[in-house]
Symmetry: C2
Subunit: 329 residues, 2 copies
């Protein structure tokens, strides 16, 4: 893939902070195009500077309003911001996410703000991987802060929060009692809690319960603060940004080299298996083992037996992974 | 794996319809244990008789009550039933699923009814694959009807519905207007609609809207009927079972060999890549490429470059996929 002129051109423009090149490279990475690994290989050393902040919570908690405020403050400090919204494509979400997205367009014309969404639909479990790589592209582009927004409706969306350094869980007094939050494992992922719409009844009680649960779970280390906010009145946003800053300082002071090594090793495994999978998929679809595939199609050969035969036959396997098979275009 | 005495013993007991052996084999398959492919290879020819019915809908629509009624009727007809509940582990679902599960225990002592749940938590995108294989184990065991229940809150759960031959979407008058149902793509997956709690206001309007939307989308072929039900009073259950039966007859009369061939080919691809992934994962974790892995851990080598080197180095790749590396136990 080295020396692909189209990719070289995109990369050159990307380095000059061309947003069209950024958008194209994200698409290449998101779609796992054959060039994706080569692109990521070049971008990898350019990334690692951004602060990645995750925001999750139930629909209607006011996440997008908070994000809009955060963008405004971060921009006022001269920081560039990217927002990556994970669109749950949920059949019962009622389309609130799209509406929220539209409200964010106030920042669309600001060249220091980049907003993009990734749909969970069609990503078939590859969402975490795709999101990590898109975050890395945004990071390599030079964004100071990258905000990942999910509506916490499913495990897939929650997994994405693992990618953030600082995770903010936004709740409202009506989100129910803290027992439910505990049961959902949200207290394990939260580095900060925001109780939004704090002018409503029950906000103080919720804050107290969350603080108690943080206290109960805590060993040594960071204790998630609970911030009362009223995002649509701008209340609590300064406290939130201060807490985000403190958490980042905490992380920098407590960088765990062993854990970092494990994360890198896991990433290698993930990249490797995804790449093997892509190659095998393309090769089989392009006719790398036609007899076996046809026998399976006709119901004459059990697909499990076919898979075992392919793996145990060194030549077929090599053909599958070499990338030497004819490509269909 | 051939000749593994523990697996041979489990298989022998499975053939004698031993439910403990069934449970163990499901666990082996669900956890992708190294024996899983060999197990599936043996079970594959035994499966293919069951009718696989999917039921989805928002929380609180009464799916579990409907399923309980369906079980009772199917049992009265002498049919054996398995229920596979996909547990969304959603942080905001409020635990309703567990409560529903408990209510199903009326059937737990009936040897013609088998109930099992699969958690989306931890399955990391492998849910569809895991579910398909568990369904096949249940099928091979001889269950006449297999019901897959999901709470339609996320894409992952919706993907699972692809595995069902007959998909029932359960709504309640409060589920909102049919526009939302359309937007969510539910009209594409539904073979039958149930408007449950039909004594509540808006049920007739919802039925009419759903029927209109079915009419609008329909080309030639099956048209999803809309059944009004009140599951907790037993109303509509006979109509539902009759419609399920009709849909199965329709499918049998319109079996599409080409589509079946494509499904089988896709299954081979899925099995193959999952197996390659498992082998590569195990081999790398067991020290198949220690220098590369350590360089990545130390941050000296970009994981994308490492992945490319492994794939392009035939010897390392072979070691990864041969299964000849030392296993850690």
């Amino acid at each position: 893939m080295a020396g692909n002129p189209r990719i070289d051109d995109l990369m050159a423009r990307f380095r000059e902070r061309d947003r069209t090149a950024l958008a194209r490279l994200i698409t290449i990475v998101e779609n796992r195009a054959p060039e994706a690994v080569a692109v990521m290989e070049q971008l990898y050393p350019m990334a690692g500077r951004a602060h990645v902040v995750g925001i999750t919570g139930p629909p209607g908690a006011g996440k997008s309003t908070l994000i809009n405020l955060m963008i405004a403050r971060l921009r006022a400090q001269g920081r560039s911001v990217a927002v990556l919204a994970i669109d749950p494509s949920s059949p019962f979400s009622g389309g609130a996410v799209l509406g929220d997205r539209v409200r964010m367009t106030a920042h669309y014309r600001d060249p220091g703000v980049y907003i993009r969404s990734i749909s969970t639909r069609g990503s078939h479990g590859g969402l975490s991987r795709a999101t990590r790589e898109v975050v890395r592209v945004l990071d390599a582009f030079g964004h100071d802060t990258i905000i990942i927004e999910t509506v916490g409706v499913g495990q897939t969306e929650l997994d994405v929060m693992d990618l953030a350094e600082t995770v903010i869980v936004v709740l409202v007094p009506e989100s129910g009692d803290s027992v439910q939050v505990m049961k959902a494992g949200l207290n394990e992922i939260a580095d900060l809690f925001v109780v939004n719409k704090a002018d409503r009844p029950g906000a103080d009680r919720m804050k107290a319960e969350l603080e108690m649960s943080v206290h109960l779970r805590a060993g040594p280390g960071w204790r998630a603060p609970v911030i009362l906010a009223q995002a649509n009145a701008g209340v609590g946003i300064d406290e939130l940004l201060a807490a985000i800053g403190k958490h980042r300082e905490y992380l920098e002071m407590h960088r765990d080299q062993r854990r970092l090594g494990e994360l890198r090793a896991n990433e290698l495994l993930e990249i490797l298996t995804a790449e093997i999978e892509d190659r095998a998929m393309r090769a089989l679809r392009n006719g790398a083992a036609p007899e076996l595939l046809n026998a399976v199609r006709a119901g004459e050969l059990n697909p499990y037996s076919a898979a075992r035969r392919i793996i145990e036959d060194r030549k077929t396997l090599e053909r599958l992974l070499s990338g030497e098979h004819r490509e269909r275009n």
